[in-house]
Symmetry: D2
Subunit: 247 residues, 4 copies
Amino acid sequence: MTAQPFVVVAGVGPGTGASVARRFAKAYPVVLLARGADKFENLAKEINDQGGKAIGISADVSNAESLTSAFQQIEKAFPGAAAAAAVFNAAGGFVRKPFLELTEKEFTSGWEVSQKGGFLFSQHVLPFLLKHAKDSSAQHPPTLIFTGATAGIKANALMATFASSNFAKRALAASIAKEFAPQGVHVAWANIDGPIDIPGRDDYRKNLPAEQKINPDDIAETYWSLHTQSKRAFTNEIDIRTSLEKW
Amino acid sequence: MTAQPFVVVAGVGPGTGASVARRFAKAYPVVLLARGADKFENLAKEINDQGGKAIGISADVSNAESLTSAFQQIEKAFPGAAAAAAVFNAAGGFVRKPFLELTEKEFTSGWEVSQKGGFLFSQHVLPFLLKHAKDSSAQHPPTLIFTGATAGIKANALMATFASSNFAKRALAASIAKEFAPQGVHVAWANIDGPIDIPGRDDYRKNLPAEQKINPDDIAETYWSLHTQSKRAFTNEIDIRTSLEKW
Amino acid sequence: MTAQPFVVVAGVGPGTGASVARRFAKAYPVVLLARGADKFENLAKEINDQGGKAIGISADVSNAESLTSAFQQIEKAFPGAAAAAAVFNAAGGFVRKPFLELTEKEFTSGWEVSQKGGFLFSQHVLPFLLKHAKDSSAQHPPTLIFTGATAGIKANALMATFASSNFAKRALAASIAKEFAPQGVHVAWANIDGPIDIPGRDDYRKNLPAEQKINPDDIAETYWSLHTQSKRAFTNEIDIRTSLEKW
Amino acid sequence: MTAQPFVVVAGVGPGTGASVARRFAKAYPVVLLARGADKFENLAKEINDQGGKAIGISADVSNAESLTSAFQQIEKAFPGAAAAAAVFNAAGGFVRKPFLELTEKEFTSGWEVSQKGGFLFSQHVLPFLLKHAKDSSAQHPPTLIFTGATAGIKANALMATFASSNFAKRALAASIAKEFAPQGVHVAWANIDGPIDIPGRDDYRKNLPAEQKINPDDIAETYWSLHTQSKRAFTNEIDIRTSLEKW
């Protein structure tokens, strides 16, 4: 008998990560990865309380050892199980600053999370996705989704760090998508184009009307649609924005 | 009481058009537009037999009068109704030929259907979509989907006609998308990247294995997902290909 | 002995066309095509007075017969000569208007000039460019340059006509570029991104400071650089904008 | 009196770097940066012997201290001088390998050179370019050119490292271009699309016919054309390929 497949969400916070976890938890046990346990504790509890299954694991996606340890814990929690889906929802280096004032550390922060993190996470999770691809009882092709941003398509002034690491993340997703599609793994990059409506976030988004902010639950719904696509109709790149967003 | 909204599919044939019509017919009455009645008669019968509702209307999308007459028939069939969705599934000018051997007529054929057709169809159907956008009981935002191809993104040698008219169709979709999104209409362009598995089609596709051909039912499923997106998470451009397609 | 090759500029006006004609006239006799003789008479006189050689021919690029007649006149003026370069500088359909207010005639005007015009002009001039490609005494590879605009890359709201025909023009250029490069013809598309500083033009550009307007003489200089590229380093797409332009 | 401006080429080897140095040495003293002195010694001698002026400095572009030291040496060699142009010709991480076999070190190598190197080099050279922008006797706007590759536009399977770092380099170039253009600095990214004809290179390129390999002298000529563009006609992105290259 095949063990029930799990889903991993890397970069769980109050916004997209939480919504995605909730959505996929309707069908699969979910693993919540975040650096700090405060990011996933309440969410795991909420999902478990509502009849789903969730475990949270502290992990730093930019650190190979940390991820290796996290996936060992996953294997212990779900012995022999494959991954039905994985979402890489982490991004770093959101710095808006004159180029000559950027520190090397700031510039590196984009690379650390968005690129190295995306690379390491993909290397750790792909074996579990490939396992699901070989499982003839799998309901949907295994899916790896990268949450991206318009900075992955358009590099603006003062955004050298975020734009370069987001362009790189998009390229990473595309290269992986092409290599693993013939093996049955569905990889997609989503351009989340605009501010996300994150509960409790006290920044420039606070005073924007709701209809100008992307609803993370709706992002999750679209991610779920991607997951349910058949091998004969994969979407590899998708954009998501509100009806009021300029593009 | 609001009249039940309808869905129009322009360019109904045995492939994508039929699959889309069947999928949307599960939720709405559908109008099938094609130049020849042979394209829609069996399909309309099939949908009606299975408990759905479909009417077929002969129309040439590249001819304003023909479209005007078609929409008058639609209004008669569904008095006062809005359009919940519309799919422009027509394309012209698929000619693979040395550039200097192209006739003006051949080159024009791409423009006629893909561009002028897209323009005229959009002008005729948008008022009905806008009406749905104002209907507070509408279940999903009104959706206008253009079926495109990779030739809308990449122009290859010997494909001047198809590529130029497909690039133009993509631009048309994007311009309309941006203008009407704030009014609540969701416009999307889908890059159908690869051969479609069209029943009974006796061409180069015949001997391709099924997994190398996009399943039109799966395209329809993705179109349906686009239709169900909320105003706070519209997708405007999407690609669809098999797991074996090179891109 | 080989006849001296000529250069054709289609769409000569007071801006880019005139500058390009003047620049290429330093090296080649130039043919000026425009619908009305008033567009090229003074320019031809100026070039001839300054020791260059120019002839003007009235022609409508969207009309095959008109172009055929024009090229017959060219052959008479330059018997047996090849074309060293050709510049398609015509564009139609610059209409900024709500989509539902566009007339079919307006929408068609973009197609007529930018697409059908580009198609017909290319078909007429390519045999002369191919002839130059076979001339071992040719100094530079024959060059066909399409003047484009940002509307060929980005389709904005209210710009359905101009954007769709410019997207199409870019695709046309790319398809021709790929087909004819192996035969030694260099085809390039130039994105002229921003307002051009056209002498005597009395529109929104009038009050813009000069440094926000692209200098047509500088466009001509870049076109000349494209022309002098070797077969081992062709540029096929290029953008040109002022240092103050947002992109 | 203004000190004569210099030009810096980072990543000098036998191919593009050497050709660019030779071309710009016709007009300016050139600084050759490479990790090992063997990369620039002969070239510096050649340029100096032929009446130009060149100095070579050992530097690692991925190391801030190394670059700081290099620019101190430049200031000593050219006291008070501005930079007329700078070319970032370094790239790292050209690894063709199944994704799951990539080591973290290999993946990081792309970042180190192409991104961090591009970042650090730009931060060091921009003050000298800005100085030239303020020099009213400058003949051409100061120019910063990034040598890129098609991997900066298209991410293929097995190329995750090179593609992601090249996408990032393109974004870096664009972000810098937009920030510094209003201050008069011209930044361009060049897509060198195909194998370069590098003298003495003993790899897969060896047996390709010359016409399938991009001539580095021709690349240099195009870079020079970019440098001579006026502020009213900057090119920010350009592609360069042979007439036989597929794209």
